[in-house]
Amino acid sequence: MSNVALDIKDLKKKYGSLFALKGISFQVYRGELFSLLGPNGAGKTTTLRIISGLTAPSSGNIYIFGKSLFTEEIWAKNKIGLVPQQINLDLELTVEENLFIHGLLFKMSLKEIKKRITELLEMADLLDRKKSKVKELSGGLRRRLLIIRALMHSPEILLLDEPTVGLDPHIRRKIWSFIKTIQASGTTIILTTHYMEEAEALSDRVAFINKGEIIAIDTPSNFVKKLGNFAIDIYSNNGIVTHFFKNKEEAEEALLKFSQKYPYVSLRKVNLEDVFIKLTGERV
């Protein structure tokens, strides 16, 4: 049995004369949490929309556990759960009714649906809100419901498109913990985000995507290591200049020197944003 859950080969998407994806290729392994990280308009959502069957690609292929998504579409859709960026729940329906409809859409039996609804509501700590209309839930609870709805049919691959966008930091961390719980159950997760700290906290591997191209793939720690573990930012009228250092001693020594020359200097740990800026010359 191959260890590859998802294999994307030379995927292109063109809108008129504009390329949203310029031929991206990558593999995601079973049980892995893989993040697509990049600024708005980089092609992250387009990639997820194509994988989930919402958007047709211009060319290229996608293999789910070795089978082509485009020739085995119905089979592949059963393997995938999608959590879209925009909360697309039926606001007038109850939590339970939203999950019930999803179960029927994925051809689950009534017995399976009932059992799974209870399991997932317990997992998401939403059991007491089963009969609440979705419009009565807070943003964080809606987001959690959106995630468990995608898990109703027990997909092996979960696609999360900007799962914490617009949420406050406290709720965001709760969602992160929830995502890690899902991964621990063996689900392969592909996550898009433009929050660097989110990708850093959750991902096994990260792919940087910019202007429709994958520019690098590696683990967060390897990306950081390659650049250096510590950074010094020097603030001036011309902007911020960052210097990278392999260890703390080197960085502290340099900090002393820079402090004598520049009024605003700071030492910090290297993060994925530094990696992205180094790779593209742009801020996320």
């Binding site: 958007t55 047709a56 039926d90």
Partner: protein, 245 residues
């Protein structure tokens, strides 16, 4: 099968949540037409040897079942452009046929609710009792199926909800007024008449009137309506396939 049921039940759940409001809104237009045209204007009027109110009721049934079935486009547009629930259906392993069947049958359900309201209002306000037989409801079903399919096809073809108004204003509203709802098509000028005769609603209102009055009618009309229904349903399925961006 379950895919179709999911789509249909979703619409039924939504309908159930606002049943009172829906029934109330379905009642307003028939109530006004029956009161203003049927009773106010048509009290001393007879058409085809019958009181005008009796003539009006089958016409209102055909027009109202058309309007309410076509109105599923509004629900679909809300699901597609506002709630984005349509994407949930697109990412599910269901065929365009299942999706179309679920939506169209929900349109048919809405149409039947509106028809029942007209029958009750006609009886309560004007004491109208006609021959509402099984074959009468079969024609209503076919009419609702045709226009629910067209409602679905139009909802899938537009790029923004605002475009929907154009289709309703230029196709559905004229058909309601000219398709034999309020007056016999035979009264129209010879130049326009052939054009109006070929509209599905004209065929429906003529057939419904004949059945409701216990008169002879062409059974071929039902076959023609069934063929049009299949054709419109096929068009709706094609538009669903094309809705993927």
């Amino acid at each position: 099968m379950k895919g179709f049921l999911a789509i249909y039940l979703r619409e039924v759940f939504l309908l159930r949540k606002r049943l009172f409001k829906v029934l109330l809104s379905f009642s307003v237009n028939p109530f006004l037409y029956i009161l203003a045209f049927g009773i106010g204007l048509g009290k001393h009027l007879s058409i085809m040897g019958r009181p005008y109110l009796e003539f009006l009721i089958p016409g209102l049934i055909s027009a109202s079942s058309m309007l309410q079935a076509f109105a599923i486009n509004v629900e679909i547009n809300v699901a597609r452009f506002y709630l984005k629930v349509f994407e949930e259906f697109q990412s599910a392993p269901i065929s365009p046929l299942s999706y179309a069947l679920g939506e169209v049958l929900s349109g048919v359900t809405r149409a039947f609710l509106s028809v029942l309201i007209i029958i009750v209002l006609g009886y309560l306000l004007g004491g109208v009792k006609l021959n509402f037989s099984g074959i009468f409801f079969l024609v209503v079903f076919l009419n609702a199926f045709i226009f629910a399919s067209l409602g679905l096809a139009s909802a899938m073809s537009i790029k923004a909800h605002a475009d929907q108004t154009l289709i309703t204003n230029f196709i559905i509203t004229p058909m309601m007024f000219l398709g034999g709802t309020f007056f016999p098509v035979e009264n129209l000028p010879p130049l326009i008449k052939p054009l109006i005769e070929i509209l599905p609603l004209t065929l429906v209102s003529k057939t419904l009137r004949a059945i409701a009055f216990g008169e002879e009618f062409y059974y071929q009309n039902i076959l023609i309506l069934a063929i049009i229904a299949m054709l419109c349903f096929f068009i709706a399925i094609i538009t669903i396939k094309k809705a993927k961006d």
